[in-house]
């Protein structure tokens, strides 16, 4: 592809574009920045887990804004899909096994007609990062996950109000028996720390007062229960405001702090736009102002996805795929199904154990994903997914996908797979290696698998 070098050249030359009016205006392709396969691939990686060939072709025809319409509001029957999976999730939760839930979630990510929703659910899971290791109750985790999904593209303030009374969160933060005599500090620390203001976002005194406000909260028989006599009814002084506060008041007061909107916008920017450099404050300011008015996550996500900045070199390949994104980025384009229970184990070994974030701070992400050991693990996982062996009895079949799109003959398969996985934006040498590999004598099915393996182990494929 001819345009492939322009992006990297621009990003090296240019600094972070700090002009918010340009950055957040909707992207309109022109001769200098045409709508091409490369950008369609970028959109489908960020707003989902990688596009299929049909999705990428359709997106090329639709242009960016219409593609984003479809990602935000899929035309296909999401309700039917949700129904099918809701039953499966509930079943897995009833069996008491978090492993089952984890596997179903991965399968949902793999098959969903609304990948953006799962992408944002994953974001909120890393934000409201409680772990099954502490909760030890698959039913509660199931409810928590449902809540995250329901609120993923909704209003953050409402999500926060509900999540802080959610049994899984109370148990996960050691606040499930919050007595007047022993207010749970860790519950309050989660609420006014990582959930909203971040660590050190308020004083120790504020934290202690928030802990008092939360007394009387219990989890009994898996349900939230407010016990009046265990609640400290006294006046609390939280962030300068005095009153007989309860948790809902703490939430209300904390949401008035601009720092909360700034932090969520910053985290979403890192999730959707770029992990490379922290953005300058001026760049995010209009988004923060808008978000703090009504905390509408859906609109914020939409603004980011539609923007000039999102389709610029400042965003293109400026994230590192997490283990789940890496694995699904191989499987979704190939429309392949695998045993997701085993896949969940692999993701865990690579540092992303779904439903078990390492700490209340969630996953660090970015550069932390990539070490010598995790790259070795990712390479071995790619091999297992594409060439079989290990837990995946039936490897994916890249040749069949190429054939389906009329690119099954020897000379065409390698370039097709490069387009599918990297939209042709790969180092020249890599293209030659892949083409040469496919054209060697041998079983064409295996050759295609090997070619796909060589492509998805390129450093470029680790970028999102």
């Amino acid at each position: 592809m001819k345009e492939k070098n322009t992006a990297t050249a621009e990003s090296a030359a240019g600094r972070q574009p700090c002009d918010p009016s340009w950055a957040w205006a909707p992207f309109v392709p022109d001769a200098r920045r045409p709508w091409d396969l490369r950008l369609a691939g970028h959109l489908y990686r960020r707003a989902g887990f990688g596009g299929t060939w049909a999705e990428l072709r359709q997106s090329l025809a639709d242009g960016p804004q219409k593609s984003i319409d479809k990602l935000l509001r899929p035309a296909s029957d999401v309700a039917a899909f949700e129904q099918k999976f809701a039953a499966a999730d509930a079943q897995a939760a009833r069996s008491g096994s978090a492993e089952g839930l984890r596997a179903w979630w991965l399968l949902r990510m793999l098959e969903t007609p609304h990948p953006l929703l799962e992408k944002l659910t994953l974001f909120w899971h890393g934000h409201f990062a409680v772990t099954q290791a502490r909760i030890q109750n698959a039913q509660l985790v199931h409810r928590y996950l449902k809540l995250l999904r329901a609120g993923a593209l909704g209003r953050f303030d409402r999500l926060l109000e509900t999540i802080v009374c959610e049994p899984a969160v109370l148990v996960g933060l050691d606040g499930a028996a919050n007595r007047r005599a022993t207010p749970s500090r860790s519950y309050a620390a989660g609420l006014v720390g990582p959930f909203t203001l971040g660590d050190g976002g308020c004083s120790d005194h504020d934290l202690a007062e928030a802990a008092r406000a939360a007394t009387g909260q219990f989890v009994r028989q898996d349900e939230f229960l407010f016990v009046q006599r265990e609640h400290d009814p006294g006046v609390k002084r939280f962030l300068g405001e005095e009153g007989p506060w309860k948790t809902a008041d703490i939430v209300r007061i904390v949401l008035r702090r601009p720092a909360v909107a700034r932090r969520i916008v910053g985290k979403l920017y890192r999730w959707l736009v770029s992990e490379a450099e922290p953005p300058c404050d001026a760049l995010l300011e209009p988004l923060v102002a808008s978000f703090s008015r009504d905390y509408d996550t859906g609109r914020l996500v939409e603004t980011m996805l539609r923007s000039n900045l999102f389709f610029s070199p400042a965003a293109y390949r400026q994230r590192i795929k997490g283990p789940v994104e890496f694995a699904l980025g191989i499987l979704r384009p190939l429309e392949a199904l695998v045993a997701t229970a085993a896949l969940a184990e692999h993701a865990a070994a690579l540092g992303q154990n779904l439903l078990h974030p390492p700490t209340i701070h969630g996953w660090e992400g970015g550069r932390a994903w990539i070490t010598r050991a995790t790259l070795t693990g990712r390479t071995n996982l790619a091999h297992a997914l594409l060439c079989g062996g290990g837990a995946f009895a039936e490897p994916a079949d890249p040749l069949a996908v190429a054939q389906e799109h009329g690119r099954g003959e020897l000379a065409a398969t390698g370039p097709f797979l490069l387009d599918l996985f990297l939209q042709g934006d790969a180092p020249q040498g890599a293209a030659a290696v892949v083409a040469k590999g496919v054209s060697q004598p041998g079983d064409p099915r295996q050759q295609a698998r090997r070619a796909a393996f060589d492509i998805v182990t390129l450093p470029e494929f680790q970028l999102c």
Binding site: I370, T374, L463
Partner: protein
């Protein structure tokens, strides 16, 4: 010297077709591969921790055979002067621990006696968590003490992969880190690339011939560096696996795991902390409430034989001065037997340390058995003093930050 660089990378990375077509290699990548190839490792210390799950009976491990309280309290499990491998007039090793007794004689084994913590908890889960996090007052501690050490090593860019768990159980919380990703592997093979990608992680160099660096994003460079290092490390580990062992490792699970660890140490890939275990998933095999004698003996035999082979292997390979091995268990056991030829959950117990830079011998007196603590041995040395010594003086980290307090390090190491 583009040509030399290419030759070097071809050797280092096991070479790819891609390299053959590239006129030059980016400087940074060459440095990354070179750094991975020859690291200044002589002063890089390594810690190996063995978790003994279930609560090891310290009194039948380092046996106070001449103590009357011991003799009176152990009707079926008592080990006498005839049974033990004597250390002195009071103490002796369990008869199954010949290798430990020998290492002790050689000054390569230290026994820290009477180790525990105030207000001992007798639940497996809670006490294990206390030993794993080093935070007795905080059941909500978010990371393990070695996970904390791994985070520090990762953040300071001293180690890309600071720690690893080698074993077949779920990764113990000891290694739980906030940021660093600590791999769990079954053996050394798990740390290698099953198939090396033809590209071998090396970017095209066609465009960046000459002096100008490639216009790459820094995230891409980060991945490329790791990819180059992964190839080098994988090859070094494969070489270490292929090398003949200097000693014979007995066919026991712990021994095989330690053999893997010895190979990884020999491969010299920059891992500073290794963690493995004996006793299995908690509560674990050391939980000897009934018919303790044979079960306990077989575990101690496995520990001693395996660690003995490991230490000998490292010594012959000239690596022992860089390695420290440590054992711990969540608690000791009761002084008295429980009527089922077993013992119940106790409190303090001895810890073992082995390596080439230790003072050796006994650290601290044997606890006074006339004064028990919840039926177990009363501790006189806080386990965090051992951790502090290891963090400060062995790994070169700041123990106060990791342990969340000041604990005077024990004098363990020779100068």
């Amino acid at each position: 010297m583009p040509a030399n660089r290419r030759d070097f990378l071809r050797r280092a990375l096991g070479a790819s077709t891609l390299l053959g077509m590239s006129p030059t290699i980016p400087e940074f990548l060459c440095r990354a591969a070179q750094a991975a190839e020859s690291r200044p490792s002589d002063d890089e210390t390594v810690l190996v921790v063995i978790q003994l799950a279930g609560g090891n009976d310290g009194l039948n491990t380092v046996v106070p055979y001449a103590d009357d309280h011991y003799a009176r309290s152990r009707h079926t499990l008592r080990l006498t002067a005839k049974d033990v491998l004597k250390i002195d007039g009071l103490l002796g090793f369990h008869p199954g621990m010949a290798a430990f007794a020998r290492l002790f004689q050689e000054g390569r084994l230290t026994v820290v006696q009477g180790v525990g913590y105030p207000h001992p908890d007798q639940s497996h889960e809670r006490s294990m968590r206390i030993w794993q996090t080093a935070r007795p007052g905080d059941p909500n501690a978010q990371t393990g003490w070695l996970g904390g050490a791994a985070d520090v090593l990762w953040r300071s860019a001293q180690a890309d992969v600071p720690a690893v768990f080698v074993g077949r159980i779920a990764q113990p919380f000891t290694l739980h880190a906030r940021t660093a990703i600590v791999p769990s592997v079954r053996d050394a093979e798990d740390c290698t690339l099953r198939v090396v990608p033809r590209d071998a992680g090396v970017p095209p160099a066609a465009k960046c011939a000459g002096e100008t660096p490639a216009p790459q994003s820094t995230l891409l460079e980060h991945v490329q560096r790791a990819a180059a290092a992964a190839c080098v490390a994988s090859r070094k580990i494969q070489q270490a696996i292929a090398a003949p062992a200097a000693v014979e490792y007995p066919p026991l699970p712990l021994s095989e795991t330690l053999h893997s660890i010895a190979r990884l140490i020999r491969a010299d890939v920059g891992i500073r902390i290794y963690h493995t275990e004996l006793g299995g998933e908690p509560p674990g095999g050391f939980d000897t409430h009934a018919n303790q004698r044979d079960n306990h003996a077989s575990l101690l035999r496995q520990l001693s034989q395996s660690a003995g082979a490991f230490i000998d292997d490292l010594r012959r390979g000239g690596l022992l001065d860089r390695v420290l091995l440590m054992t711990f268990s969540e608690f000791g056991r009761t002084l008295s037997e429980n009527g089922r030829r077993g013992t119940d959950h106790g409190s303090a117990a001895p810890m073992f340390l082995a390596g080439g830079k230790l003072r050796g011998g006994l650290v601290g007196p044997h606890p006074d058995l006339s004064q028990t603590e919840q039926g177990g041995v009363r501790h006189h040395t806080d386990f965090r003093r051992v951790y502090a010594a290891i963090l400060d003086r062995w790994l070169g980290l700041d123990s106060r930050a990791i342990l969340g307090g000041e604990f005077p390090p024990l004098e363990l190491f020779s100068r």
